[in-house]
């Protein structure tokens, strides 16, 4: 290869790539308004983004998959956890995550700041990320539930338990988080009806409960299936 050819490779390679990249950047700007629902990007959402940056949330949590890998991704946190849990955990992480082996700093946010953060997460929740992240993808979750139930050993209730991220907080047969009660023998402590009440609206039983209410996101039949499954957890090994 001659020196001139080498220089030509350099010029052609750099220019072609840069032109393609800049052209697609221009087109991305055109399309991103729709993909991110920019019409709903209100002053409150923007104020929420400022709060998100002010407390450096992003150096522990990823959002859109970017940032620190120390804590759960926040892209779909609004859908996964619901507004009530988001408010609770930001206001009193020391209490909500008291049993968790990983801690979140207690930053003493003003009520107004928490409101704006919730606005921000609600807006982020609807960004079209091509169905990322997989763990929060509704279509993948239903496919995965169908796959699980096609196995003979798994009940509908067990599939619902997994698909609704109960393992995030609860431990069952040694698997799962520790911020909620261990459920290995929950059937000895609570009846089916009591479990239904907890799942549907825990705060009605005790306003201090940190668990989100599921009566809005799950049907009555689903909550019953889940409660039946849990009432059968009586401490024995499966």
């Amino acid at each position: 290869m001659s020196f001139k050819t080498a220089r030509l490779i350099f010029l052609a390679g750099t220019l072609s790539s840069a032109i393609l990249f800049l052209a697609l950047t221009w087109d991305t700007h055109r399309q991103v308004r729709v993909l991110t629902n920019a019409d709903r990007l209100s002053d409150r959402v923007i104020a929420g983004k400022r709060v998100f940056q002010k407390y450096n949330c992003n150096d522990c949590h990823t959002i859109l998959g970017f940032g620190g890998y120390y804590a759960p991704d926040l892209t779909r946190v609004y859908q996964r956890r619901g507004e009530a849990y988001i408010r609770q955990v930001i206001a009193a992480p020391d209490k909500v995550l008291a049993a968790s082996f990983r801690k979140m700093p207690h930053e003493n946010l003003a009520a107004e700041e928490i409101d704006r953060l919730v606005d921000f997460f609600r807006w982020v929740n609807d960004i079209d990320t091509h169905d990322w992240p997989p763990q929060d993808s509704a279509s993948r979750a239903s496919r995965s539930a169908a796959r699980l139930m096609s196995g003979t050993t798994l009940s509908y209730g067990a599939a619902l338990f997994k698909e609704n991220n109960c393992f995030d907080c609860h431990r069952l047969q040694g698997v799962g988080g520790t911020s909620g009660p261990i459920l290995d023998d929950v059937g000895n402590r609570l009846s089916v009806d009591q479990i239904i009440k907890v799942i549907a609206n825990p705060q009605q039983l005790n306003p201090d409960y940190q668990m989100p209410a599921y009566e809005a996101s799950l049907s009555r039949a689903q909550i019953e299936a889940l409660a039946n499954f849990l009432a059968n957890q009586k401490g024995g090994k499966q």
Binding site: F3, C60, P105, K162
Partner: protein, 445 residues
């Protein structure tokens, strides 16, 4: 031993760079402890993981940049056959940058932050960085233009430095739209490490290889052209591999996927190039550690950035591994291979010359290299295993974030073990470089 008096200004850059490197690694160990053990809430409230991570990553950027800048000041007098335009300005620039660094670290502790990973430093400090960058470009530019002795190496270096400074500007504003924010965040981070930094380090490495091997300039520069051409061809449009899931159009999966799959090519060429130049050497290599580091950097660069990057950025895999410990594994191996080892190559080439040593004792440096390089490889693998566990449990089985993290604890403890050994290797290197001893057996001619 240095031909030009103004080359000496590189030395304080190297010393500060090394000390910040040590501090960066110490904080890395602290981060690993955060992962593997439960810390008391009171401690987390005052020194959270987020702050420690901001320390770790900002120190990384600062020590690497100070190393590149010192390397540039050491190299351009020799390349242009002239003194640096103003060594005093170079010192002012160093004080500004290190001052910014110290202010930023203290600021992070007090919550003074822009809150964007790696670009945490607040707007006011951004302005100081821009001022320092302008001083640097002015000083280097004046030296090059005054000498009018242009070479491909000089052009590549200066082009890379200008690109580096211009891209930094895209990271300064507050963006309203989170997706646009991350879109331009990658103009700084990706186009730095897979663009501007490759130009700067490609030029410095080409120059060092030419110096230690005595291979003809025209040959070195020809291959430098091909290398940086391929780096920029694959790297610029390859930015798309960060745009898969952030709210950008779907064509980025195709564009990013194809261009980033080609990204190992220039690195492979660089490895081959390095080997060929070393084999075809005309001069006797006096300090073998320099080419051990040069070859080590090239191979490590290929594994960490090339192979790991290739696998991690295939869209079908990245859907599951994006933003997991797999990313951490790739980040550590790639940064250590491509940039940390390259800076160490520069330090081991330049510092002996600045101290007037023709040959120096190689024992400590060899230990330092092998201990740090092998422990970092193991650490990268441990992060990788943790990442695969996370990908499977959290993203495929859907067990939830903390449930997956609980199963990864063991591997974070392995990371701490590797980190302690790595830290020891780095301390050896820092100590050795600051106290180089002449090789007594051979009397230099």
């Amino acid at each position: 031993m240095t031909t030009y008096a103004s080359q000496r200004v590189a030395y304080p850059y190297f010393v500060l760079s090394l000390l910040l490197f040590g501090l960066q690694v110490a904080l890395g160990l602290w981060l690993a402890i955060n992962y593997a053990f439960t810390l008391p809430q009171d401690l987390v409230n005052v020194f959270p993981f987020a702050t420690a991570r901001a320390f770790h990553t900002n120190l990384l950027v600062l020590w690497l940049l100070l190393g590149f800048m010192g390397g540039t000041y050491f190299m351009i007098p020799d390349e242009t056959r002239s003194e640096i335009y103003s060594p005093k300005l170079a010192l002012v620039q160093l004080i500004l940058l290190v001052g910014t660094g110290v202010a930023a670290l203290i600021g992070f502790l007090a919550g003074w932050t822009q809150g964007r990973p790696l670009l945490e430093i607040p707007f006011e400090l951004d302005l100081v960085v821009v001022a320092a960058a302008l001083l640097f470009l002015f000083n280097v530019g004046m030296t090059l233009f005054r000498a009018r002795n242009w070479t491909v190496i000089q052009g590549t270096l200066f082009g890379g430095l200008v690109m580096l400074a211009v891209l930094y500007l895209f990271g300064i504003p507050f963006y309203h739209n989170l997706s646009i924010d991350w879109y331009y965040w990658w103009w700084v981070i990706h186009l730095w490490v897979e663009g501007a930094w490759e130009l700067v380090t490609g030029a410095i490495m080409a120059w060092i290889l030419m110096k230690i091997t005595g291979v003809e300039r025209r040959v070195v520069e020809k291959w430098l052209y091909v290398e940086i051409g391929l780096f920029l061809f694959t790297g610029i449009a390859g930015t798309g591999h960060h745009y898969y899931w952030l709210g950008a159009p779907k064509y980025w999966l195709g564009v990013g996927g194809i261009f980033s799959a080609l990204e190992p090519l220039p690195i492979a060429l660089m490895v081959w190039d390095t080997f060929r130049h070393v084999r075809a050497r005309q001069a006797e290599i006096k300090n073998p550690i320099v080419w051990t580091l040069a070859v080590g950097s090239a191979i490590y660069h290929f594994i960490g950035a090339g192979v790991w990057g290739f696998i991690h950025t295939l869209p079908a895999i990245n859907y599951y591994t994006h933003g997991s410990q797999v990313t951490v594994s790739h980040g550590h191996l790639a940064f250590f291979g491509a940039y940390a080892l390259l800076n160490l190559t520069v330090f081991y080439y330049a510092i002996p010359k600045l101290k007037g040593l023709d040959q120096f004792k190689q024992t400590l440096s060899k230990w330092g290299f092998w201990v740090s390089a092998s422990s970092m490889l193991l650490m990268g693998l441990a992060f990788g295993v943790a990442g695969v566990i996370q990908t499977y449990l959290e993203r495929i089985l859907g067990l939830g974030y903390m449930a997956a993290q609980a199963q990864m604890q063991f591997w974070f403890k392995v990371v701490i073990g590797c980190g302690i050994i790595f830290f020891a290797g780095v301390i050896l290197i820092i100590y050795d470089l600051l106290t180089l001893k002449p090789q007594l057996k051979t009397s230099s001619a």
